[in-house]
Symmetry: C2
Subunit: 300 residues, 2 copies
Amino acid sequence: MTPPAAVSLRPALEAVARAVDARFDRLLDVPDDPRARLFRAMRHATIGGGKKMRALLAVAACDLFHVDRERALRVALAIEAVHSYSLVHDDLPCMDDDDLRRGKPTVHKAFDEATAVLTGDSLFALAFEVLADPLTHEDPFVRSELVLELARASGPNGMAGGQMMDLEAEGADFDLATTTRLQQLKTGALIGFACEAGAIMGKVSPGVRMRVRGYARDLGLAFQIADDLLDVEGDAETAGKALHKDAAAGKSTFVSLLGVDRARAQASMLIDQAIHHLNDFGPEADLLRAIALFAIERDH
Amino acid sequence: MTPPAAVSLRPALEAVARAVDARFDRLLDVPDDPRARLFRAMRHATIGGGKKMRALLAVAACDLFHVDRERALRVALAIEAVHSYSLVHDDLPCMDDDDLRRGKPTVHKAFDEATAVLTGDSLFALAFEVLADPLTHEDPFVRSELVLELARASGPNGMAGGQMMDLEAEGADFDLATTTRLQQLKTGALIGFACEAGAIMGKVSPGVRMRVRGYARDLGLAFQIADDLLDVEGDAETAGKALHKDAAAGKSTFVSLLGVDRARAQASMLIDQAIHHLNDFGPEADLLRAIALFAIERDH
């Protein structure tokens, strides 16, 4: 299924990125006290960097259910705060030891390691503060549901658990099932939350929420396969980060397990499936459809 | 004011510590997959270690407002999860570089640095997951209020901000006002949340909540002054951690700024004030009164 030409992804992505950045800028006013360094590092980690793909997903899922744009952007900001925190911690010397992120020095390079640890911790706290604030939704059930799902998606049964599996992956020869599980936790859970948050904000029926979740699950996995393909075929300058690290570390990837051709076919099949979950929705789902196609066509 | 002899603090503390440990044990079942190391480290950081003073405060504040004990223990667990996460990150080589915590090797010593980073992150997520769960309170307004206040108490305007100030304190010659602010953020905010959570769970009036907050603010500061006194006068074996580190790092402490005698007098005055905030409460506040007295009489 081809999305209507009317939906142009890049302008939508850029608009959401700008809107989220503007809100980070407002929230992270640098105080005139010894915490200034922390706030500067939080700004470095969030503003003006990254595709903000998760923010766009959250906004697109919120749009599907006619959620007020300002509120949708608060959810989007919370998700980008968690994503940024995870990158800051993953880049630490004791983790992936990366010097470059989104074309800029990583936080521990631009500042120092202790500040990087606290920057991640602070962005994580900020995400929950934003979601639990009545400005995000007047219904406290919606707010606590958002918090519950984000906590699950980011904790030991979500992103942090996936990151632990990734640390254990080195030389462990994970099979396809374990690699799939690793990626579902490490990146899939937060992508899933970005989409599901729209359904929570829109207070939709469990059946509708299930379809959004199905879309997110297939999209998340396709997104990761595409990342693995980029890691093999991509260009470090375009990607804005170091490549070929998984192969060098002896970790299983979808590409090492399936080969380039089958991995690409698998990603394409997953995207068809993701779009299929949106069949009951009309043109208001076109942005989600366009995001799905972009996931496997992007070069960074 | 002397608390009634009827309130015996140590058995209460031990009972709450056991109850919280039992609930961590249940929540942190080690999975049979590559995340096992993460869950073992989370157990190491939480179960069987520490005084669980914040848990007791939360339970005592909940008791004051007749909150169901099982629910109070869930709040207590969330607070201890945050406290433990902060210790795991603070102990990292890039932060305080401590090998010993609560008489055991620190997480990065018993496991490794990357696991320690993820252990802290995971305990932080767990705290919010527990608070946002309907099992903690059936009223979603209470749940989202708990989350909002914990997020504020632990983020850049709370604990993490205080830790940043602490990093900047080395050789900075902070004055008494800045040192007080540092400690209010670094340790006071979470102690404050432990008390305020009881008021939130009990859905009390703003006036009553203010009194509990007043108690917590004075207690938190007294607690920290007592810690500074222990750091100078204490015994590393009893404390279960390295001592004299602040002086060695050239950081201002209440003792370096006030001297031992004035620091002790200040702590004592703050405790009188803390107990004064409880004047309108009857014997159901005796445990909170006993905790206040313990705060300045403890030897660890």
